[in-house]
Symmetry: C2
DNA sequence: TTTCCTCTATTGGTTGACCAATGTTAGGCA
DNA sequence: TGCCTAACATTGGTCAACCAATAGAGGAAA
């Protein structure tokens, strides 16, 4: 925030507006106060307010028309700034897994085909860090990095961008119902062995093996989530 | 466009600005004319211009500061609303094919798994239209629709969005050096048999066969492009 | 000759008045 | 009593004047 104070104003206004909508609990379809009233409540100039409204409209969070007023759209005003957040609510965890099963094994295969020495080192580093994780949160971060390192190793900027989009949606999809019985992954956590198999296949430039290993890995993640389907 | 004319203005202004930047070939780091000059060249009011500039700034395509001017950012100003067209210039035809080889067979496999009766009909329709095409241009359009029908049949909105992104980049990647010896595809064009194989595998809900058939198809497209690699 | 400072022109940003579209209500007519 | 119309108030959108920040030229001092 301190780095670019001039943009902070706009962001500040946007979050202020969002908070206002949430606090006063405006529901989808509700009409919110006129601009000239809002500037009093929010203590900002109309121009600033309108910029914030522009942003929310662009996100699709609100809907406005001359003479009628401003209304909160069907998808609530609490959404993130990116356009994929719409997707996230339409993608069920099952669809998410199937998407990963479709994309990531192919990425691993490409990685095995194209991985440079440096890329392989990055994969191993990410893998070791995930094994050393002290909390589940940390583990998930490192696991993310492991998977992305593989996507990078595929050495195809287009595939990487697709992976990133997939990943953004994945993070946004709510899978909060996973129950953890411990504070950190056990040393013999299934994923560790699977990670090693993936990394070794890539290192050996064995595309087929990398593909299969990744498929098994995501499959077992799926099994943990949904209870052995 | 006709459905929401009030937003069309803004979009129009944005694309006009983009075109301007591209046509005059402003490079990253270049400073573009002052707002008061741009409104003359672009024939729009300053408010409208500023909205367009706001959008580009928000995308990160430009960079501006009071007293200094407006500059195009490092990632070029030709980007689309999604960030794909920047990609198009960085993706070689080979990488493009490898990306398709990574994604589309998996999509075909999912399609075989999930395709509804209606989805299968759409696939067959698209296939028949591509066979009936009278020009190469028409054929390519119908071929596009065939591939997209398969992506739709996968019944996974996330995978569909990934396919669309892939497809947008594909269209933007210049592969104009394909020489056609006839005005329309021959009746025994290789792709026709491959299309049939794909469609039949999906129809039979045979995932593996659909995957393999699509892989062969894209492989033969690749061979035609690059001369049997 | 070089350096520093000041003045001015130009830049993007902001403001308040104005405009057009819409909802509302009061009044007249059947 | 009911309905249609027209005047009015309120809405979001637009515009032109103004503001503050910056760059650059030019002159004075060392």
């Amino acid at each position: 925030m301190l780095t670019r104070p001039e943009q902070s104003d706009r962001e500040e206004a946007i979050t202020a507006l969002r908070d206002f909508i949430v606090e006063r609990s405006f529901k989808p379809g509700d009409r919110l106060p006129a601009e000239r009233e809002l500037i009093v409540d929010l203590g900002m100039t109309r121009t600033t307010l309108r910029k914030a409204l522009d942003s929310l409209e662009r996100e699709g969070a609100i809907w406005r028309h001359v003479g009628k007023g401003t209304f909160v759209a069907s998808q609530a005003g609490a959404e993130g700034p990116d356009s994929f957040s719409g997707l996230a609510q339409q993608v069920s965890p099952v669809k998410m897994i199937r998407a990963r099963l479709s994309i990531e094994p192919a990425l691993a295969g490409e990685a095995a085909f194209n991985a440079s020495r440096e890329a392989i080192i990055r994969i191993r580093t990410a893998m070791e860090r995930s094994e050393a994780a002290e909390t589940w949160e940390d583990y998930e971060t490192q696991d993310d990095l492991f998977h992305r390192a593989i996507a990078e190793a595929a050495d195809n900027i287009l595939l990487l961008s697709l992976f990133d989009q997939l990943n953004r949606v994945r993070r946004a999809v709510a899978i909060s119902n996973v129950v953890r019985s411990s504070v950190r992954p056990a040393r013999d956590h299934t994923s560790f062995a699977e990670h090693i198999a993936i990394a070794e296949a890539i290192e050996a430039h064995n595309s087929k093996a990398a593909y299969d290993a990744m498929r098994r890995h995501i499959g077992s993640v799926s099994a943990r989530l949904f209870g052995e389907d």
